[in-house]
Each structure stands twice: as C-alpha cells, then as structure tokens.
C-alpha cells in the first residue's frame, strides 16, 4: 500500500493522543489546573491533529460529516463517531479538571474507554481488509492498542507502567511482523485464484496500460526486503528499545529525567512513525496479483 504521509501521521499521532487521553481519563496522572491544561492540550493536539491530517487525504473533506452516518457497517464511520464521542466526553472531563479542579471519575472512565475504542476502530479499518492479508488479523488491533497504551503511558509519565507496556507493544510488534511475512502466502489468494487460470503456472504478461494508474500508485507499493529490515530495526530501536532504556536508566537529576522522558517520547514517536510507514509500505494488497506484482 502506498505509505501516504497523511495516514501515517494520523495513525501515529491520534493513537498516541487517545492513549494519553485514556490515562488522563483514569486519572493517571491525576492533574488539574494548568498542568491538566498542558496534558489535555497535548492529548487533543495529537488526537485532533491526527484526525485533521487524515482529512487531508479525502477527495471531499467538506462532506466529512457524511462519514458519521454508516456506523452500522463501516469501521471508518464508527471511528468517526467514537473519536468524536471520546473527544466530547473527555472534553467535559477536561473542563472539570482544568477549571473546576474536579475529577468526574465516571466521566473519565467512560472517556478512557471511548478513547481506547476509538483506537480499536481505527485498527479495525485495517484489520477488516481481507484484501491485505498482512493486516487481516486480530494481532492488528492488539498492536494498535498496545502501542497506543504504551505511548499514552509514556506521555502520561507512568514511569513504572510505561516500560512494561512498551515491552509488550514491542513484543506484539515482532509477532505481528513475523505473522505478516507469511500472511499473503497463507491467505490462499494467489495468481491461480485471482485469474482462475489454474491449468498452468500463471505469469502477468502485459499490464492493461504501459503507464501507471491509481491502483498501482495506491496498492502496489513495493519495497526491498533489505530496506524493510533496516526500517524494522529502526522502528524497534526507536519505538520501543530506546524509550525503555531511557525510562529505566537510574537517574538522579530531575531535569535529566525529564529530558530523558522527553527524548523517550520523541524517539517513540519516530519509531512508531517508522513502524506505521512499514505498516503500509509492506502491506501487500491482493490486487497486486493482477499486475504480477506479488
């Protein structure tokens, strides 16, 4: 799949944002006033910024409201609904925390759950795609959720929780990759099923057009195996290993600690962006078979 920057930014940032909201909703940390404002500002900037960025790849963003209508079948529609619900509920909760020094716990828990569900709906947009065997697994929501939680914990300053969650997410990430590498072959979709020409070995001869087209640009992104491995290394190191390291390093200086935590967040963000880039770039859409590109 074409690794469109808008989608990479969206999934990376909004995942992180909703992860942070989750912890804030649970009162981890229990903040109020200016500090709450700062935390919520960051969370909203990430979540809403991500959502806005995703609107950039729409052909008609002005009709975006229509996307709330099909929640009964469409995960994208559900995502839209849940994200708004989460943002509204958490917004009210934030109002309480910032201006009234109030912790409306029930509201917070509901908001936290909605935030996680939002991340889940995002992940399901990809998970449901039978056309992309690499995504079509329950490991995908697990991956999105663990990353979101780990990132949220990191941002929420949950020093004790974050390394564990990061390690868990890293583990899921590795499992997801390992499964993903065999997923296309295991999916049962191949040249023979795509063309029905089972009476011999099928090879694409001439594509329909000598030039490119929407499908090729969008779905038939090919990256070299070596290149992919390198980026996986970077994603693992930056997204999980380094933040864990930065978190668990015994440090005395508070300033240094904060600096390291900041560094951990930046590193995590970079690593997850790399992971998301791969999430798309490595994903093989079955339509590539028709173009002999699988």
């Amino acid at each position: 799949m074409h690794p469109a920057p808008s989608v990479i930014i969206f999934t990376t940032l909004s995942g992180l944002g909703f992860g942070l909201l989750f912890f804030l909703g649970l009162g981890l940390p229990d903040v109020s006033g200016w500090i709450a404002f700062t935390f919520f500002f960051i969370a909203y900037a990430l979540a809403v910024g991500g959502l806005m960025s995703s609107a950039f790849h729409l052909g008609h963003p002005e009709r975006a409201l229509k996307a709330f209508t099909q929640w009964r079948t469409s995960w994208l529609s559900r995502e839209a609904c849940f994200s708004v619900a989460a943002l509204v509920v958490m917004g009210v909760f934030a109002l309480g925390a910032v201006f009234f020094d109030a912790q409306w716990r029930v509201l917070g828990v509901i908001g936290a759950v909605l935030s996680l569900i939002t991340v889940y709906t995002t992940s399901m947009i990809y998970t449901q795609m039978k056309t992309v065997p690499r995504w079509n697994t329950q490991l995908t929501p697990l991956l999105y959720l663990t990353i979101s939680l780990a990132g949220g914990a990191l941002l929420a300053g949950q020093e004790s929780l974050a390394p564990w969650l990061l390690a868990l997410a890293g583990g899921v990430q590795i499992a997801w990759w390992m499964r993903g590498d065999g997923a296309f072959a295991a999916s049962g979709t191949d040249m023979a099923s795509a063309t029905g020409l089972g009476h011999g070995k099928v090879r694409s001869f001439e594509p329909p057009h000598t030039g490119t087209n929407y499908l090729l640009r969008e779905f038939v992104y090919v990256i070299g195996r070596k290149h992919a491995l390198k980026i996986r290394g970077i994603a693992l190191a930056l997204g999980y290993a380094l933040p864990i390291l930065l978190m668990v390093l015994p440090l005395d200086s508070i300033a240094l600690k904060h600096a390291f935590a900041g560094l951990a967040v930046v590193s995590h963000l970079g690593g997850i962006a790399a992971s998301r880039w791969l999430f798309f770039a490595e994903a093989e859409h079955v339509v590539g078979l028709y173009y002999g590109k699988r």
């Binding site: 209508t69 529609s77 795509a194």
Partner: protein, 254 residues
C-alpha cells in the same frame, strides 16, 4: 446505504469469455467514452500528453501467460471491471453511504455527491475495480451502464452496457445471473463459469468462462488412420489413382 440488501430482485452482471477475448481494448475505450460523457463526473486524465499519462478507467484488460506442465505457453487476455459482488466489501466499508448495492438489480454504485473520496472502498475491493478520479476526488467504478440498460431514449437492442455492445469478438455477455434460465446463466453452466478469488468471500455476480483446452490437434487426429493413408504406395502410381478417382466422379466413365 452501506447495508447490503439481504437479497436483490435480479443479479445483473457480465459474463466474460476468456476463450474468446482477443485483448483488443475496445471495451476499455467505449467504457471510457460512455462514462466520460454520462453518469457522474467525467473520467479524467492527468498529464495526458506528457511523461506520465494516467487516467481513470472502469475496465482494463490484463494479459497473462500460462505455462502448462507440458506443451507451449499460452496467453490469456483478461478483461476486468467491477464484478458487482453479492457480498460487496466495498459497500460495507463506505463510511458515508455513497457506495451502495441496488436492491432491484444488484448493481453496485457510487453516489458521487455523497462520496468524500476516502478511498476505503477501493482498499476493500480485491479486484481493483474502483478508481479514485484525480480531478474530481470521487470514487469511480463500473456502473454496469445503469444509464443505458434501462434508458428509454435508447432503442431496446442498445439497452446493454457500452462495453458489451462494442465488443467485436462477442466475448462479453450481459444478463441476469440470478435467473437460472437466462442466456448468461446457461452459458455459465455450459462452460463452467467461474468466480475470481472465491476465497475472498465476495460472491461476485460477474463470471468468467475459462479458456478451452489448447493445442490438442495432435491428440485428436490419428495421423496413421485411413484419413491420411496414401492412396497408392507405388511410385508414379498417383496418376493412376487420379484417373480412377476421376472416373468415379459423378458423370465419370464408370
């Protein structure tokens, strides 16, 4: 609406004969011409006279080489447009309801004025049957020429899709695949019509007729049979045979 109708009254679709398609691209261009001028936004082209021309097409012809275990490699021309699936994943993923399947005839359509151009339906389609128009920012797909097949302004014979009407080889058939007695259903039954990527669970309405076996003349013709037995083994005996054969003709000597 992104809900799929539980059943449709008819299942209109195409049957494409891979045994006969010569790969001429006639259907591709007549589709482009018709759908540029008719339903929805025109099918645009970017950089049409430049280095990287690329445009929206609702029907494209691939070609595949098939190498059987034994014998010469074969070539199959392979037209592909929307298969109007019964369980169309492109419809259910659509967040806006722009994509829908018609209850009357099962045609899968995009209502362009509702489409936000998110592209998700194209992701969900295993067949590459949807293309986002780059100029208009809306999703385009085969309409089964809905503005032809019921069009009272067209003579009745012409109420078929543009691609079907134009196919010089007669490799494209249109009809109701929900009616077991229709011509298309019969053709599918006779020729072993098949689904593409059945494992995707989309239940395509369009069917493909597989190419007939190729390169069988040597198996079928026994070259030692009387068919090719020499009329005479004697050297120079041929003219004698010729004489006898001439006499045996009606009006001959015998």
């Amino acid at each position: 609406m992104t809900d799929l109708p539980t059943t449709t009254e008819r299942k209109l679709g195409l049957v494409i004969d891979l045994d006969t398609c010569v790969g001429c691209h006639a259907c591709v261009i007549s589709c482009k011409g018709w759908n540029t001028e008719n339903y929805g936004a025109p099918l645009s082209d970017q950089n049409p006279y430049g280095a990287d021309p690329s445009g929206t097409f609702l029907n494209r012809i691939h070609s595949y080489e098939v190498q059987p275990e034994a014998g010469a490699a074969q070539l199959v021309h392979f037209p592909k447009s929307c298969l109007h699936c019964e369980d169309a994943p492109c419809v259910t993923v659509c967040p806006t309801g722009a994509s829908y399947k018609r209850v009357e005839d099962g045609i899968v359509l995009v209502n362009e004025s509702d489409c936000i151009g998110c592209g998700l339906c194209a992701w969900a389609c295993p067949y590459g049957a949807r293309e986002m128009d780059q100029a208009e920012g809306v999703m385009k797909k085969c309409t089964l020429c809905i503005d032809r097949i019921y069009n009272g302004n067209l003579p009745e014979v012409d109420r078929v899709p543009a691609c079907v009407r134009t196919c010089p080889a007669g490799a494209r058939h249109f009809g109701d695949l929900g009616d077991p007695d229709s011509d298309v259903s019969r053709l599918v039954a006779e020729r072993g019509g098949m689904d593409l990527m059945p494992e995707q669970g989309t239940k395509p309405v369009n069917k493909y007729l597989p190419p007939r076996p190729r390169d069988t003349v040597e198996e079928e013709i026994d070259i030692l049979a009387p068919l090719l037995a020499p009329v005479t083994e004697e050297p120079g005996g041929f003219l004698g045979w010729l004489d006898r054969a001439l006499d045996a003709l009606p009006g001959g000597k015998s």
